[in-house]
């Protein structure tokens, strides 16, 4: 057993090693061949290989010393306009020495950049196109401003299909000499939904408990890693206990750092799973949609989501009233 984060250890090094995302990989390989890369946006859900693809492309293009020709900047940590102005510009304007005449700037998690910073970036991209190409990685391309989108070639990453996912995890399990059962694999896919980073992290955390990995262990890992029990919170609200539901919400956000957008997505899913009368489901979906919209505009996730909880309390109360009539 080795002691790195497996997600890193098994991160593909070249485009050829990448799993799935076939068309994307093919196009990127053609860039390498022609020694020319346009500005790109890699968009798609987490853990599907966006950052990996950017790094593989760089390595295939520049060879082992690729680090000298690229810069990785993570917008979630440095969101401000100053970073774009200073760091990006300084990097972008100095010409690369070597057979490839440009450098590559990987702007990871770019959807977390402020609008200002993106505006600044737009000019930089234009001015230094000759010396520097940008690859923006993002979960939502919608959060990238139009002018930048129009300057980039778009690439849509999708969750890995089941077979590819399984093959990859089996390969890791065999390599690490652990026994991953079929049910265990099913469970991982269920809880991670094709997010490979999460899947691999789950596998490694499970392996820290023992060599045999079955569904039970996977669920217990998932439960401990994501204490966001949205289902329970909804139940609490529907029982009329607003204060307790708000407390659960608060814990999710503050203690475990679950993102508001994640919570509302799960609430949306849950609503269609519960056993309330069918017409109510669509009424609630409307409420969820409204709050989802406010979440983007508002200042505070807990305030918005607890307003939603209050609406759930109200709805459950009305449903009960209707039953009695």
């Amino acid at each position: 057993m080795s002691f790195e984060m497996w997600a890193e250890k098994y991160r593909p090094k070249t485009l050829d090693d990448m799993v799935n995302q076939k068309e994307i990989v093919e196009r990127l390989k053609s860039f390498v061949k022609s020694r020319n890369v346009p500005h790109c946006i890699f968009a798609g859900p987490p853990g599907t290989g966006k950052t990996t693809a950017a790094l593989c492309l760089a390595r295939d293009l520049y060879g082992e010393a690729y680090r000298e020709h690229i810069m990785e900047l993570n917008a979630s940590d440095e969101r401000g306009i100053d970073v774009v102005r200073e760091t990006v510009k300084t990097f972008a304007r100095i010409r690369s020495i070597g057979e490839v005449p440009f450098k590559i700037m990987i702007l990871d998690e770019a959807d977390n950049m402020t609008a200002d910073a993106q505006q600044a970036l737009r000019r930089t991209m234009e001015r230094y196109t000759e010396t520097c190409r940008f690859i923006l990685c993002a979960n939502y391309s919608g959060k990238i401003i139009e002018p930048i989108q129009s300057r980039c070639a778009p690439f849509r990453f999708t969750y890995l299909p089941r077979e590819e996912h399984d093959k990859y995890l089996r390969y890791i399990a065999a390599n690490e000499d652990i026994n991953l059962s079929e049910e265990g694999l099913d469970a991982i896919f269920e809880v991670c939904g094709g997010d490979l980073r999460r899947a691999i992290n789950t596998l490694q955390a499970a392996a820290s408990l023992g060599k045999l990995i079955d569904a039970k262990i996977v669920y217990s890992i998932a439960g401990r890693a994501n204490p966001a029990d949205v289902q329970k919170m909804i139940e609490t609200a529907m029982k009329g206990n607003f204060l307790e539901a708000r407390k659960q919400l608060r814990d999710m956000i503050q203690k475990y750092g679950v993102a508001g957008s994640d919570i509302i997505r799960q609430i949306h899913t849950e609503i269609f799973r519960t056993t309330i009368p069918e017409p109510w489901k669509i009424k609630l979906a409307d409420i969820v949609g409204e709050i989802d919209y406010r979440l983007v505009e508002g200042a505070d996730e807990e305030v918005q989501l607890s307003a939603l909880l209050a609406r759930l309390v109200e709805a459950a109360h009305e449903m009960k009233g209707a039953e009695k009539v």
Partner: protein, 419 residues
């Protein structure tokens, strides 16, 4: 088990008593003078505000001079008869075993009402003929009931210790508890206590017990406590307001800023608007107020604040349709504010670990601290070997290891593998 720090760190000798050096000196000299014969005043009357060490001084002195302390509080001597029972004790300086005796009538102002009139007189009588030092303690010596009594006493005033003195005491406690406290945090507690060491120590325990670090943010919210009276009035105007105008006016009265007022309302709405429809309406109003806060932030146009105010005050007031005001419902300090300041240190630690992950894993520190850290926790709790390997690979500090393992022994085992 709850063990109050005021008891745990109660001074045992006079050296440990903070402040009031002159008063203590005067008191000690008077007690010692008994060895040379009965002094002019047979009683000492120590007076001063609560929690500054009057009682403790008497106890510490008895301990230092190896005297036998007979300690009585008001409940022991409410009536004349009750006091007279101590007359015998006061008639001798040395006890049977040769130790010197000192009698303390503590909390003298606890005597109230006419029933106790006789009590004060009986004490005065005992003093007149006392053969051993008598000590009286009260918050004020100038209560009319004590006019006559005072004539027979050496008056010793205890003053509030300076906040520097209080600070010294708090520091000493932190040192013994192994708490690293920011100077600012302790200063804040000391100043807030206004010389009342007892309350300062109580505050410190409430805020710091079980912590390794105490920061200014952990304590600063305490400041709001003093202003609770006005904030309660403001909340009442909003949560029970009948007109929009009235509810909106409350904002001018509040001496907290808009965001803090929002927190107070947000915290207290559910308990005061219990009808599900009212609650949903009120929370919706707060949600809209928050949307306008978001708009202020994104446009930097502060004139939108008037809509924030509309929704958080009038909007909440108008939400009440079905809920009847029912008796007395308490107001609570915003739980979120408390929690935020408490968990701040923890989030800093998570982010530090996130940064280490970032250096290796091509993911932002922000996301790593949320998405990768939970898995690390599981590994560090369950597999010492794998944890040690990862700790090395990620270059984690011993503090980080302990944080992830949530357990000292585990952390030590991991560190051992590392060295």
């Amino acid at each position: 088990m709850y063990h109050p720090w005021t008891v745990k760190y109660k001074p045992k000798t006079l050296k440990e008593v903070v402040g009031n050096r002159e008063a203590i000196q005067k008191f000690v000299e008077w007690v010692k003078s008994w060895n040379k014969g009965i002094p002019k005043k047979r009683a000492a009357f120590l007076y001063g505000p609560p929690g500054i060490g009057k009682t403790v001084t008497v106890e510490a002195l008895a301990n230092d001079l190896k005297m036998e302390l007979v300690e009585k509080n008001a409940s022991d001597y409410r009536t004349e008869e009750a006091v007279k029972r101590f007359a015998g004790l006061a008639s001798q300086y040395s006890s049977l075993f040769g130790t010197k005796r000192i009698i303390l009538f503590d909390e003298l102002d606890g005597l109230t009402g006419t029933a106790d009139k006789g009590g004060v007189k009986a004490i005065t009588d005992i003093i007149k003929t006392a053969q051993c030092p008598i000590v009286l303690v009260a918050n004020s010596a100038y209560d009319p009931r004590f006019i006559n009594l005072r004539n027979y006493c050496l008056l010793i005033e205890f003053k509030k210790p300076s906040s520097t003195d209080v600070l010294k005491h708090l520091k000493a406690i932190c040192l013994k508890e192994g708490i690293k406290a920011e100077e600012n945090a302790l200063k804040f507690i000391a100043q807030r206590s206004e010389g009342d060491i007892r309350s300062a120590v109580n505050d410190l325990q409430a805020l710091a017990q079980g912590k390794k670090h105490l920061t200014y943010d952990d304590v600063s919210w305490l400041g709001y406590r003093d202003r609770q009276e006005t904030i309660f009035t403001v909340l009442r105007m909003i949560l029970y307001g009948r007109t929009c105008e009235g509810a909106k006016r409350a904002v001018n009265m509040a001496d907290v800023d808009i965001d803090m007022l929002f927190e107070w309302i947000y915290e207290n709405v559910p308990a005061h608007l219990t009808d599900p429809h009212d609650l949903a309406r009120a929370m919706d109003a707060l949600s809209m107020a928050d949307v306008y806060r978001g708009r202020i932030r994104s446009t930097q146009d502060w004139s939108f604040v008037r809509y924030v105010i509309d929704f958080m005050t009038a909007g909440v007031a108008m939400a009440r349709v079905n809920t009847k005001p029912s008796g007395w419902t308490p107001f609570h300090f915003p739980g979120r504010v408390q929690m935020l300041s408490r968990s701040k240190g923890e989030r800093a630690m998570q982010l530090e670990i996130g940064r280490k992950v970032k250096r290796r894993c091509h993911i932002s520190a922000t996301r790593a601290s949320k998405e990768v850290l939970p898995y690390l926790r599981i590994i560090f709790k369950n597999n010492v070997e794998m944890a040690a390997g990862l700790a090395k690979w990620l270059d984690l500090s011993p503090e980080m290891i302990e944080y992830l393992a949530e357990n000292k022994e585990k952390a030590e085992a991991i560190n051992k593998l590392l060295s």
